[in-house]
């Protein structure tokens, strides 16, 4: 059986979903027999590769880099999974949205609440500019499946992945689509 080309991506999130992915424990040892990890924060690949079969997207679309990358990912990937609450809803990363503008968010964090040396971080070409509104992944590009949870527990990830690896349309039970 040909191995599936699998990617995992870390956008605007805390990496908790990836930590939960590592909680798959010994199942991770079985995974390479069925999937090849071609791009991930866990492997050293700089460029998102072509012809990816399945990508788990952790995190929301928060800055210009995320926006550029997610369009590239969509073009190069057959199946996208919004992986965890930030990707599905915006979640904690979107709690800045009521402030409406990126400038207001930076001011709040780096000027108003600063104890020492208040100044805005400015490293053009290094720090990507924040978007005014944090968006869930499906608000930017079409997403095939949603895997809620903050983070999704390992067994929930396994349920979804196992079905996708077998080429089935994944079915999740009621308790497996709970936010939070």
């Amino acid at each position: 059986m040909e191995r599936l080309r699998l990617a995992t991506v870390w956008l605007g999130g805390c990496s908790g979903c990836h930590m939960s992915f590592l909680d798959l424990d010994e199942w991770l040892l079985e995974l390479p027999a069925r999937a090849e990890l071609v791009y991930s924060p866990l492997v050293d690949t700089k460029e998102y590769p072509l012809q990816v079969d399945l990508a788990l997207i952790e995190g929301a679309i928060c800055n210009a880099d995320h926006l550029e990358l997610i369009h590239q990912i969509r073009q190069r990937t057959r199946t996208l999974v919004a992986f965890g609450d930030c990707a599905v809803t915006g979640n904690v990363t979107a709690m800045r949205n009521p402030l409406r503008r990126a400038e207001a968010v930076l001011n709040r964090a780096y000027i108003e609440l600063a104890d020492l040396n208040p100044q805005l971080p400015a490293q053009p070409g290094v720090l990507p500019p924040l978007l005014d509104t944090v968006l869930p992944v499906h608000a930017v590009v079409p997403v095939e499946y949603h895997l809620p949870g903050c983070p999704p527990p390992a067994d929930r990830i396994k349920t979804l992945l196992a079905q996708l690896l077998e080429g089935r349309t994944p079915q999740l039970a009621q308790h497996q689509i709970r936010f939070g």
């Binding site: 979107a94 949205n97 499906h138 009621q174 689509i177 939070g180």
Partner: protein, 238 residues
């Protein structure tokens, strides 16, 4: 009291004439999802989760405020109703800032439960992200407008069970807000008796005990029904 006979989801049901469709369905073990309904408190039909189809009527009707009638043929769980219920839930999640992961009611929330029961794995509508405050002025309780679904359970227990009339609804449409007295900080309210019935009534994390952190807010719903029943049956002197 005269009995009425009607059909709910193909099942012949006998009900008392002043019962609502919701009560009749529940007596017959037919579940209808609700959010603004709270046992022991008058119904207002605010949330529309309990909408049902009645054969021969083009409109959908809220089961909690529709009385039974002889010969009615009611459907509670058609594909259309399921679709509308999920749509309603998505609109509720999009309207304010329900961040389940950091909510006091995570894991004990009626809105969260309804979402899972209706297969809501994402929200198709744009999140409105309104800039709403949290009133933490009260000595015992907090009111987080971000989590409020405007079901008015708190208003109803405050007026009709406690009789204090502290909580109220101001504004219209999506600009509606729960207020205390004349839209002043809760701590400045002259009428609040600090009874806590509003906190017991809240389906989400909008009303909570101060000091409760993520997922710690659990409520005892039966307390309210217990108080109402004891009063109606005059089991104690108030």
């Amino acid at each position: 009291m005269a009995a009425k006979t009607l059909t709910i989801d193909g099942q012949l049901v006998s009900a008392e004439e002043n019962q609502t469709l919701l009560e009749a369905a529940r007596d017959a073990q037919i579940p209808i999802p609700t959010l603004c309904h709270l046992d022991g408190v008058m119904d207002v039909g605010a949330c529309r989760m309990c909408l049902v189809e009645i054969v021969g009527t083009p409109k959908l009707l809220p089961a909690c405020v529709t009385k039974v009638q002889e010969g009615l043929e009611v459907r509670t769980n058609s594909e259309r109703l399921q679709r509308y219920r999920r749509l309603l839930l998505e609109l509720l999640f999009a309207e304010r800032n329900h961040v389940c992961a950091v909510c006091v009611s995570n894991g004990h929330c009626e809105l969260q439960d309804l979402a899972t029961q209706h297969g809501m794995d994402h929200v198709r509508y744009a999140y409105q992200a309104p800039n709403l405050g949290v009133d933490l002025s009260h000595r015992l309780y907090g009111l987080d407008h971000n989590r409020c679904v405007l079901c008015t359970r708190c208003v109803r227990v405050c007026w009709y069970i406690e009789g204090a009339g502290t909580l109220n609804l101001a504004g219209r449409g999506t600009g509606s807000m729960i207020i205390t007295d004349l839209n002043q900080p809760w701590a400045d309210s002259d009428t609040c008796t600090a009874c806590g019935k509003c906190v017991q009534a809240c389906p989400t994390g909008a009303l909570f005990y101060k000091g409760a952190t993520v997922a710690e807010m659990e409520r005892d719903r039966q307390k309210l029904e217990y108080i109402v029943t004891a009063r109606e049956k005059k089991q104690w002197n108030v």
